[in-house]
């Protein structure tokens, strides 16, 4: 995890700062000055576009740039006001829509440049509406490091939209649909108005089975509380611990093993921990099994830090840790969610324990 140990140390040695921590300036929120991004996934016909349109028309949706694969698919071309850059269209409410076709990175950088040059309105939020068959994994990878988009953009939330009426069959048939649920922070059940109670209940159960950490929201007549597009203020949820008396990380919930050999679990530790052994363990994990590390995100209670240290890993990439200036509540536990392919909770815990033993 070279990003952890690089710049801040040498610079702070030359120019010491009494208020900055080892991870740089302590921030009020994770995104800092980066532009928040909401990634909206969902299978074909799930109702993504309807939700996005409703958000854009809300007060909170002002100044949002929407990136879509194709205007036609997004279905918002009827709202275009005029053309700007070749692939960008201005919408009402200070929003704009950009067709990114294949290169998301170039499209987002282009939008920022045009914004700075005053060519397009000052947008302060990005929504990426993926195509129905898209696996969100590569998108998350693009945002994982400063070299690509992580320096300017911050993924606040990954949302998967599921049509309640067809959830069962879609999730049965398509691995892409399951991956979208697996990697989501939030799952929105849409089209509940044309589903019966049994279908809704089954859809909820399927989602819960795939991703017990995700917040499940319900869209009402194609609209969602706009807050659903924003970052949750604190990490997911606290579940009953099933193991973990004594020191070290313990699993917070039953490990979920999915049909695609994907496992997800949450590791928790209550006592403040040393950062280095955790970083070394993650380095080893990324080096040995980076391709199977689908998403790891967590808040750490690092000894000596003022607030939680937020860590984020996607495959073989690690985003520089960010220290918040305070804990939002009284729960000070370190909590890391792992979504892995073919790697179990026990293996990760053993790895963390081993690096800790060597460090100590």
């Amino acid at each position: 995890m070279p990003a952890v140990t690089d710049a801040p140390y040498s610079v702070l040695n030359l120019f010491p700062s009494a208020s900055a921590g080892r991870f740089g300036r302590r921030r009020r929120r994770e995104r800092g000055a980066r532009i928040p991004v909401s990634v909206i996934t969902g299978f074909l016909g799930a109702g993504k576009t309807t939700l996005v349109r409703a958000f854009l028309n809300s007060e909170q949706g002002r100044g949002t740039a929407v990136l879509v694969n194709e205007f036609g698919e997004a279905g918002i071309d009827d709202a275009l006001l005029r053309d700007s850059a070749e692939a960008t269209a201005l919408l009402g409410n200070g929003c704009l829509c950009c067709n990114y076709r294949s290169d998301l990175q170039a499209a987002l950088h282009g939008l920022v440049i045009e914004r700075e040059r005053g060519k397009i309105p000052y947008f302060g939020r990005v929504i990426i509406e993926t195509s129905g068959l898209a696996d969100p994994g590569p998108i998350l990878t693009t945002f994982a490091t400063d070299r690509a988009l992580g320096g300017e953009f911050h993924i606040e939330t990954v949302m998967a939209v599921v049509a309640a009426v067809s959830a069962d069959s879609t999730l049965d048939r398509f691995i892409e649909a399951r991956r979208q649920i697996l990697l989501a922070d939030r799952v929105v059940l849409a089209k509940t108005d044309i589903a019966d109670a049994d279908q809704i209940a089954r859809a909820q159960a399927r989602v819960r089975a795939l991703n017990p950490r995700a917040e499940i929201l319900t869209a009402v007549n194609g609209a969602l509380d706009p807050r659903g597009f924003f970052e949750p203020s604190a990490p997911a949820l606290v579940r009953t611990a099933i193991s973990g008396a004594g020191g070290g990380f313990f699993a917070e919930e039953v490990e979920i093993e999915h049909t695609d050999n994907v496992r997800s679990f949450t590791l928790v530790e209550h006592a403040p921990l040393a950062f280095e052994p955790f970083a070394r363990a993650m380095e080893a994990l990324m080096a040995l099994r980076g391709a199977d590390l689908l998403r790891v995100k967590g808040w750490l209670n690092v000894a000596g830090c003022a607030g939680p240290v937020i860590v984020h890993f996607v495959q073989h990439l690690a985003h520089p840790p960010i220290e918040l200036d305070r804990w939002p509540g009284t729960d000070r536990a370190s909590r890391v969610v792992f979504i892995m392919r073919g790697i179990g909770e026990r293996q990760v815990r053993d790895l963390l324990a081993a690096t800790r033993a060597l460090h100590e």
Binding site: V11, P121, G124
Partner: protein
């Protein structure tokens, strides 16, 4: 270089001035402005007074919720990682200078004192105890239309106000001390006359220890070699505020008639020749033996003032040419071995670009090394938005309990570029983390915002002022 004690009659001058002007209606002492006068001055203004930002423009209402979208607008308006709490047009006299200081009054009120950029107003005090509901406490007039106060500072209940005139030889010019223990009725304690046949008086002052006022000032006995080099560094002791006494002065060698040194080279005329003269004269308790001196077209100096009667330069750093001069402020970050140095943009449409905020490695104070600048948006996109675009004032970590202190974040005003905050934790790569560019204020002379100065109090509340008409904007940091 030399020491020329001031006439000992500060108090007498003040009284004389006050008495004289009382008779002629030209009092320098604070005189609350009458409402009819305000109405007469700006008949076209919209209703004055404090208005919570939320009421002012519903379509631009700042959200109180974290994670809410930034404020946007058709003309490049931005509110990003700041929350606008209130905007006050200051009774229609919203053209503000570069003097901002907080007083905690004896009754507990928090009052910000603001210097006006130009006549007719002298200074305005605003009760900001509730930053969402600022209220004017007092607003005073200047006796002459050719005067400007521009700069003020306060310590406890004593406030120092600078007076500059448009032309040399005009009076009154100098600085005045006020007792502001009753904020509604500032009482003149002393006036120091800095007028002279070659002087425009005082442009800027620094007064944070209750003992010394450090000035960029002309003097009756100072004849510059060039008319634009009239203001130099002067130090007055004000331990007895009724009797200010000059204890030291320094000017760039060659700028005074009679100097052995040749007059300094001048910057290109007409746009860039702004004078080899003092601007900011910052002194901090961490190093009471140092003055961090901006000297406009001569760059910056760190001065050894351990002997105030004989200030001596320790170093000089001058970026111009090839840059375009007007070194304004030198802010030392003592714990970090850094200096933050600002230029001032003084020409509309960025014709004097680039005007920057520089970060200097000051591990060796004799050899400061520039290592970075705080990035601004593309000049081509901003220079045509009206008025000036470029660096000017920064929050200066004024060494008082009422000032926010930060060595990791620089707050700066950039005229039509608004207010910007930079994270300089890594000083090689300053990174913008917050932006506030409000819409052009009503009656703006240049059709754009021209944010002129910024001050943050110890609560983290940020105050910024417009140069022409916008008055006071109060914000909360949200980064």
């Amino acid at each position: 270089m030399s020491r020329k004690p001031a006439r000992k009659s500060g108090k007498k001058l003040a009284k004389s001035s006050t008495r004289k002007s009382s008779a002629s209606g030209r009092s320098l002492a604070a005189k609350p402005a009458s409402k009819p006068a305000a109405a007469k001055r700006a008949p076209a203004m919209k209703p004055k007074g404090a208005r919570p930002a939320a009421r002012q423009a519903p379509q631009r209402r700042p959200s109180e919720r974290s994670g809410a979208p930034p404020r946007l607008g058709p003309a490049g308006e931005v509110t990003w990682n700041f929350k606008l709490l209130a905007h006050h047009e200051l009774g229609g006299f919203g053209g503000m200078g570069e003097g901002m200081a907080i007083q905690i009054a004896r009754d507990g009120r928090r009052i910000i004192w603001l210097a006006h950029e130009s006549a007719p107003k002298n200074f305005t005090a605003v009760d900001v105890s509730d930053p969402r509901r600022p209220k004017i406490v007092v607003q005073t007039d200047l006796p002459e239309s050719f005067m400007r106060s521009n700069s003020l500072e306060l310590t406890g209940d004593i406030m120092a106000v600078a007076y500059q005139t448009q032309k040399v030889g005009q009076k009154p010019a100098g600085f005045e001390l006020f007792d502001i223990s009753t904020p509604e009725r500032p009482r003149s304690i002393a006036f120091v006359d800095a007028s002279g046949p070659h002087s425009r008086g005082v442009h800027q002052l620094w007064f944070c220890d209750g003992e010394y006022v450090h000035l960029a000032a002309g003097a009756p006995d100072f004849t510059p070699t060039h008319e634009l080099d009239d203001q130099f560094y002067r130090i007055f002791e004000v331990r007895d505020p009724a009797r200010p006494v000059e204890v030291g002065r320094w000017w760039l060698p060659g700028t005074r008639e009679g100097d052995r040194e040749a007059p300094p080279a001048r910057h290109a005329r007409p746009l860039l020749d702004r004078g080899n003269r003092a601007h900011n004269t910052n002194v901090y308790p961490q190093r009471p033996d140092r003055c961090y001196l901006g000297y406009i077209d001569a760059g910056m100096f760190i001065m050894d003032i351990s002997d105030k009667a004989n200030p001596k330069p320790i170093c000089r750093w001058d970026n111009s040419p090839p840059y375009t001069g007007f070194t304004h402020t030198v802010l030392p970050l003592f714990n970090r071995n850094l200096l933050v140095v600002t230029d001032e943009s003084t020409v509309n449409d960025a014709a004097d670009w680039p005007k920057l905020v520089w970060i200097l490695d000051a591990r060796d104070e004799r050899r400061p090394v520039p290592i970075s600048t705080c990035p601004l948006p593309p000049v081509d996109a901003w220079k045509g938005r009206g008025g000036r675009f470029g660096a000017h004032n920064i929050h200066e970590n004024v060494p008082l309990p009422t000032a926010w202190q930060s060595e990791d974040v620089v707050l700066g005003t950039f005229f039509n570029g608004g207010l910007r905050a930079y994270d300089i934790t890594n000083p090689y790569q300053p990174h913008e983390i917050a932006t506030f560019v409000p819409p052009a204020p009503a009656m703006s002379a240049v059709g754009s915002i021209q944010l002129n100065d910024v001050f943050a109090d110890e609560r983290g509340i940020v105050y910024t002022v417009d140069r022409f008409s916008g008055g006071l904007y109060i914000l909360e940091m949200d980064f």
